[in-house]
């Protein structure tokens, strides 16, 4: 009897140790790995929404806050998992993949994939008309009329802002956002 109880206690303890080591290894692994570039970009896309005020025509017309990816999607499931359960204002954030802006005029933020570089002018015009925040990692995107351009800098992802472009689209960017931008085009005194 006594030996049975002792053996059971030991086996339980071993199971507990195993569980502990597995779980501990997993958590420490998760903490140590740096987020991938697409993870950072996905998070930025999501967070931009918190520092931008939409006064454009299609603001508030949709039930959800749509973050759209135009063209070849570099994020995969990363964006979906980033926005999952997130809210901006009263609205639920959803990630959408679109092939043209006309496809959906509910996009608050559109990430223009580098695959769309050729159609950039038309896309930017449509976005401006629709009051959509355009974000891209296409080089010189901001100089070409885009609103926010991801730029790699010292192993980090930073961004540049084209302030006149956002104003023309009826968007107001918070000074907080501008503060952390590496470059703000059209900022008075800059």
């Amino acid at each position: 009897m006594g030996r049975d109880l002792g053996a059971r206690a030991i086996s339980r303890y071993l199971v507990f140790l195993l569980f502990l080591s597995l779980f501990g290894a997993q958590t420490s692994h998760a903490q140590q790995t740096h987020p991938t570039e697409s993870q950072v970009k996905a998070a930025y896309l999501y967070n931009f929404g918190k520092f931008v005020t939409w006064t454009g025509t299609n603001a508030g017309s949709s039930a959800s806050f749509d973050i759209c990816v135009l063209g070849k999607d570099p994020f995969g499931v990363v964006l979906d998992s980033t926005v999952a359960g997130g809210n901006i204002g009263e609205k639920r954030v959803t990630a959408k993949k679109i092939s043209s802006l006309q496809e959906s005029d509910h996009c608050r933020i559109v990430f223009i994939s580098s695959s769309e570089q050729a159609r950039l002018k038309a896309i930017l015009a449509a976005a401006k008309a629709g009051g959509t925040l355009t974000v891209s990692d296409i080089p010189h995107f901001a100089d070409k009329g885009g609103m926010i351009e991801f730029v790699p800098q010292e192993n980090r992802i930073r961004f540049e802002v084209n302030l006149p472009a956002t104003e023309e689209a009826g968007l107001t960017l918070s000074s907080e956002l501008l503060k952390v931008a590496t470059r703000v085009i059209g900022k008075t005194g800059n």
């Binding site: 903490q31 950072v40 918190k50 961004f159 918070s174 907080e176 956002l177 503060k179 952390v180």
Partner: protein, 494 residues
Amino acid sequence: MAVGYSRSISRKLTVMNMLVSAAALLLACAAFFAYDQITFRQSLVRTLSAQAQIIGANSISALIFNDPQSATNTLSALKSFPNIASAGIITSDQRPFAQYSRDAGDEVLNIPAPPDGRLEAYWFRATHLVLVHSIVFQGKTLGFVYLRADLHELDQRLKRYAAIAFVVLLLSLLAALIVSALFRRSVAEPIVQLAEVARAVSQDNNYSVRAAPTAAQDEIALLIDAFNNMLQQIQHRDNALQAAHDELEERVEERTRELVSSNRELEAFSYSVSHDLRGPLEVMNGFSYVLLKSYANQLDSSGKECLQSIRAAARRMSELIDDLLNLSRVTTSVMHREEIDLSSYARAIMEELCRTAPERNVEFVAPIEVKAYADARLVQIVMQNLLENAWKYTSHHDRARIEFGFEDKDGRMICFVKDDGSGFDPRSTDRLFQPFNRLHTSAEFPGNGIGLATVRRIIQRHGGEVWAEGAVEKGATFHFILEPNRGTEAGRPV
């Protein structure tokens, strides 16, 4: 002495005043300082919290978009607050994000996050206050901002307070000094005066002095009143006592005067009686002599015997009258004191006595000289009587020893005549000195019983004392003092 008292009481008052004011002041300072410390700490925490909130709010985008430079810029605004030693922002996973330190090389603190569910926490360390504030954006904790403030200002405040307290203490002690100087007039001085009066009363027995009353209506005034009342009562009593004493003295003097005069009368009476008795006695004596000489042949032998007895009785009566006359003369004669030697008197008397009965075996002892200041004639009578008695009352013994001597007691010379004769019953000592009182029968020892009475009169006239000690068959000692006792007048007739 009185000055010492005065100093001590006013010094006590001053010290008391100063102690009280110093204690009150120090307590007040301590309380005030404690209150100030608390409020200062609270306000420090509040300011620090406000700064942390501002920095937190300004660092949200920096945290979100991973821009430590922007956060560092925000933190560097703290330069305008010199009390903040260091500050920093930590991400929610405890990584240092941005730092600021006032002095280069200030170490980065390992700051724990505020406990769960709290936006903010702070710790007071020995020299620092550390405050951690959560940076929350849209319900999500992005990180923490911590601020570390110096507590130097607390020290400075403490020093400043100590300096102020010291100055105020000095001023208040000065004020206390002045106040106590003022109060000394109303409190200490009446007491000092009272003490002075009490001293005068106890030293000089002067109950007529009074303590000066004060204008105030306090306990000191009460004390002074009570003291004065007491003095008044003592004075009354003293006066009454003096009056009673005076009256008593007067009465005694009166009585003495009465006694003296009645004594004089009595003595004059007894003198005249004795004198008058003499005449008839001489007649009896003369005629009985004539009868015996001229008519001897007509008388038979028994008639002659009768006549002899009459003559003997008459002779005895004459002696008695002589003694009585002597006694009264002793009391009335004028006293004249001079320096005399009692010892030579004693020796002369003893020689005379030995000559009367040379067959007796009597040893006589006396010092070479016993000086006294007394009436020579009267003292001669005293010595005569005492030595005669000693001679007489040792006559039944084969051998006798008679001693004359003196001893010193408290500066008074006590003379004595001592014998080892038949002595007397000590219970009858007082009767010895009364006239005609005898403790022995005439059959045993002849005598009239007037000798010691005479001795006592003479001693009393000298203002001295006489007393006897003795026991049956153990001898007798007669002590006498010739010098008057202190305060007793010598030569006063009694």
